[in-house]
């Protein structure tokens, strides 16, 4: 007979102290490209040409990144002459381009948030990162956040994937089944802009095409801490650091 209780106790506490303390363990975030100043405009243009999805724009000598379009292929980082600089943070949540602000959920939800997730054509990475929020490292229960089984008791809808046509109706039904107040968060590059799948007959090209999105979490996939940061922004416990199309840092 295995003594699971003892095994659990002796394993120790693995949870990160974020958001109370910064988290810097290696591998927690894949990092992201940050705006880089090059020596010349040609180099900046070359850096912009490296990106297969057009997330890098050359503005004179500066290469500017649209994190919402970036698919983390790392082609701008390795093996080509004009590499961009890389940042190691994970607090990437931003408002959608159309909205400039977010009304966070009322104060009652600050420490009691129920989350509904819908996989609308996701490759599995974003969904898996969301599932990691329940593992002992991130453990969102300590922050008063829970995943619900039904949208009827949910406050926040996390949508991953570019919204495949077969999932359009179930996604809309899930949204309709949620009571007010509710917020929609698009998680991942596919959910924000369609990612590599784009807008075709089989995929809608992002959650914004189907539902009113309140918050976006860029990344492909965003690491669990980035998603956690997004949830903290939704409840008003954290602020958005990246604004609009350009990154601040």
């Amino acid at each position: 007979m295995s003594f699971w209780f003892w095994n659990g106790i002796t394993r120790g506490i693995q949870s990160t102290r974020y958001p109370a303390a910064p988290e810097t363990a290696p591998g927690v975030s894949p990092g992201r490209p940050v705006a880089t100043m090059f020596a010349s405009a040609e180099e900046a243009a070359r850096a912009a040409a490296n990106c297969p999805v057009g997330a890098i724009t050359a503005r004179d000598r500066e290469a500017v990144i649209d994190l919402g379009t970036c698919i983390h292929c790392q082609r701008c980082r390795f093996g080509n002459p004009s590499t961009v600089h890389w940042g190691n943070d994970f607090e990437w949540t931003r408002w959608p381009a159309a909205k400039k602000t977010l009304e966070p959920l009322p104060a009652a939800f600050t420490r009691s948030l129920h989350i509904m997730v819908v996989d609308a054509g996701d490759c599995g990475a974003c969904l898996h990162e969301i599932k990691q929020l329940n593992n002992p490292f991130y453990n969102i229960h300590r922050l008063g956040m829970f995943f619900t089984a039904t949208p009827r008791t949910a406050d926040v809808l996390l949508v991953v994937g570019p919204v495949s046509e077969n999932m359009r109706e179930p996604l809309l039904k899930t949204y309709d089944a949620m009571p007010q107040p509710k917020r929609v968060v698009a998680v991942g590059a596919c959910a924000i802009s369609g990612g590599v799948f784009g807008r075709t007959f089989a995929s809608a090209g992002g959650v914004g095409m189907v539902l009113p999105v309140d918050l976006e979490i860029p990344g492909n996939p965003p690491p669990p801490l980035a998603i956690l940061h997004g949830l903290l922004v939704v409840t008003g416990r954290k602020e958005v650091l990246t604004k609009g199309e350009t990154s601040l840092i």
């Binding site: 295995s2 659990g8 894949p30 997730v117 002992p136 179930p170 590599v196 007959f201």
Partner: protein, 536 residues
């Protein structure tokens, strides 16, 4: 239907050629082309019989069906994998206006879903297939005869007028007064489960018949790849199913390399083994976590989750991405790795390996846990062979095929490892196979890292125009094959992905039927299949 063992000892190429020519005379022609044998069937009605010979009598495995719409004809390519011979393609050509092709489903049950997929996407009718329709393009959402994979259909028609069918009802199989069909999904488990709609037909306690409806995540990857360059399609190849991203991107790169005929530097090939096994180890840790979660043994679930997160972090520290995106390129890897990074990775893998061994020991002595898994969701070896299941699921039911051993790629032929196999086919057997494969993966990573020599990590390869390439890997879930046809400008004309989840979902209902409701999530977890990999 015969399920007799092969009536010939494993044939070699000459033996098979002789057998086929003897049997079918002028109906087909056999020729040796890369990567294996090609059998061109000239008389369409011979197709089912040839399939039976290859699958049952010669003991082959069915790899999949590739349908192409060429200029004036259909080209159907049925893949078989035979021991001692390798890949055997049965190629059938039919004029475009031919409306029906004989179905091989009566002989080879594993071809069931491939033909349904071809019917849905190409609008080809397979004669005497018992259940065509309502497969990828769900009947309540799409109208009939769209045939999106045909050349005439524009993938970017995002204003495409769908005509949903309001009156659609599922066809229920069980006709017992008092039977009903319990619906699960597509949004279930709070949305943390991949979108699949299950209909569990029952009279109360036991599931009598179970029908999964997949393809809620259908993004038409094969269609949107058409007309794109190799480097763009590589992005699609690794991003349609993240949990096996490296394996699929590797299969795609190998297909391009196969088409180009170039040789990949040995350092790159060894590093590919390291990364592929790292992915397998991490995937299996996640699958074990899923099984522990389904049986509600929370502490073991937490332990498995810790192992998986450690491996994800190790992947990110080693390669810069937690899921190993962006590493493969035709001709090798996009970047090289230093010695210290490899040593760090080895340390992380050893830690994960020893934690998994401890976890397995502890689970073996948890009788309440084993009660939920033993004899639950059993697939007999006969059924597994009949449906030609692959990967850990197949190996737990005695189908011992592993592409790393059957058709070695990268540098697998140089290393020592086992492909563990069990016979019971129940949930516990699948769990044991997962643990055993995780151990073998750790062993392989060690061997691969220790065998690294300095050298190029990649020699860029340009696939020549108008070529065909075929690549395969043993992804964590099973055998994955990618086929590419390049057009005259070097862009992709046809991209075919054959995934292991697509194959194994076919066998899922066999495991679930005649078990109670409460066992359903557990059986689902022990299969560890990915709906998004199947849906593409």
């Amino acid at each position: 239907m015969t399920s007799a063992p092969p009536s010939h000892s494993p044939l070699d190429v000459e033996g098979l050629t002789v057998l086929l020519e003897e049997r079918f005379r002028a109906g087909l022609s056999v020729s040796k082309e890369s990567p294996g044998l090609v059998i061109r069937v000239l008389n369409l009605s011979l197709l089912p019989v040839v399939s039976r010979v290859l699958f049952w009598e010669a003991g082959g495995s069915f790899g999949g069906l590739i349908v192409e719409e060429r200029l004036r004809e259909w080209r159907l390519q049925y893949l078989f994998l035979l021991q001692n011979i390798g890949w055997v393609d049965v190629v059938v050509r039919a004029p475009l206006d031919q409306k029906t092709i004989p179905s091989i489903v009566a002989e080879v049950h594993a071809a069931d879903w491939y033909e349904r997929e071809a019917e849905d996407l190409f609008d080809i009718d397979f004669e005497s297939h018992p259940r065509l329709g309502d497969f990828i393009l769900h009947d309540e959402t799409w109208q009939e005869h769209i045939a999106p994979m045909r050349k005439a259909f524009d993938a970017n028609a995002h204003n495409f007028e769908r005509k949903p069918n309001e009156k659609w009802r599922p066809k229920l199989v069980v006709k017992d007064p008092g039977s009903f069909a319990m619906p699960v999904g597509p949004v279930y488990e709070g949305g943390l489960g991949e979108p699949i709609h299950f209909l569990l037909e029952t009279v109360g306690e036991d599931v009598i018949r179970e029908v999964p409806r997949l393809f809620y995540n259908y993004r038409a990857v094969e269609k949107i790849a058409e007309g794109k360059g190799v480097s763009e399609v590589l992005l699609l190849a690794e991003r349609f199913s993240a949990k096996s991203a490296f394996a699929h991107s590797l299969a795609f790169c190998q297909a391009i390399e196969n088409a180009a005929g170039g040789k990949v530097p040995s350092r790159a090939r060894r590093l590919r083994v390291v990364l592929a096994e790292l992915e397998r180890l991490r995937h299996h840790a996640g699958a074990i976590q899923g099984i522990c979660q389904s049986t509600a043994l929370s502490v073991s679930e937490a332990h498995a989750a810790i192992i998986e997160e450690q491996l994800l972090r190790a992947s990110a520290a080693f390669t810069g991405h937690r899921y190993l995106f962006g590493l493969n390129a035709p001709g090798g890897l996009r970047r090289d790795f230093e010695e210290t990074a490899c040593r760090d990775l080895l340390r992380a893998i050893d830690s994960a390996d020893s934690q998994l061994r401890t976890l397995e020991e502890r689970l073996r002595y948890s009788s309440s846990f084993l009660d939920r898994l033993e004899d639950v969701g059993a697939i007999t070896p006969e059924n597994a062979r009949d449906l030609d299941l692959v990967g850990p699921v197949g190996r737990a039911s005695g189908v011992s095929r592993d592409l790393r051993k059957a058709c070695p790629y990268a540098t697998y032929s140089e290393y020592q490892f086992d492909a563990p196999c069990e016979q019971e086919g129940d949930g516990y057997a699948r769990l044991r196979v997962l643990f055993a494969e995780a151990r073998e993966s750790a062993r392989l990573v060690h061997q691969a890292v220790n065998s690294l020599e300095p050298g190029d990590s990649s020699i860029p390869v340009e696939a020549p125009a108008s070529t065909v390439g075929f690549g395969w890997t043993e992804a964590p879930i099973g055998a994955a094959m990618h086929g590419v046809r390049l057009d005259s400008e070097g862009s992709v004309e046809r991209y075919r992905i054959l995934t292991p989840s697509f194959r194994n979902w076919l066998g899922f209902h066999v495991a679930v039927e005649d078990f109670a409701f409460q066992d359903f999530p557990i059986i689902l977890a022990t299969f560890g299949l990915s709906a998004t990999e199947c849906d593409r």
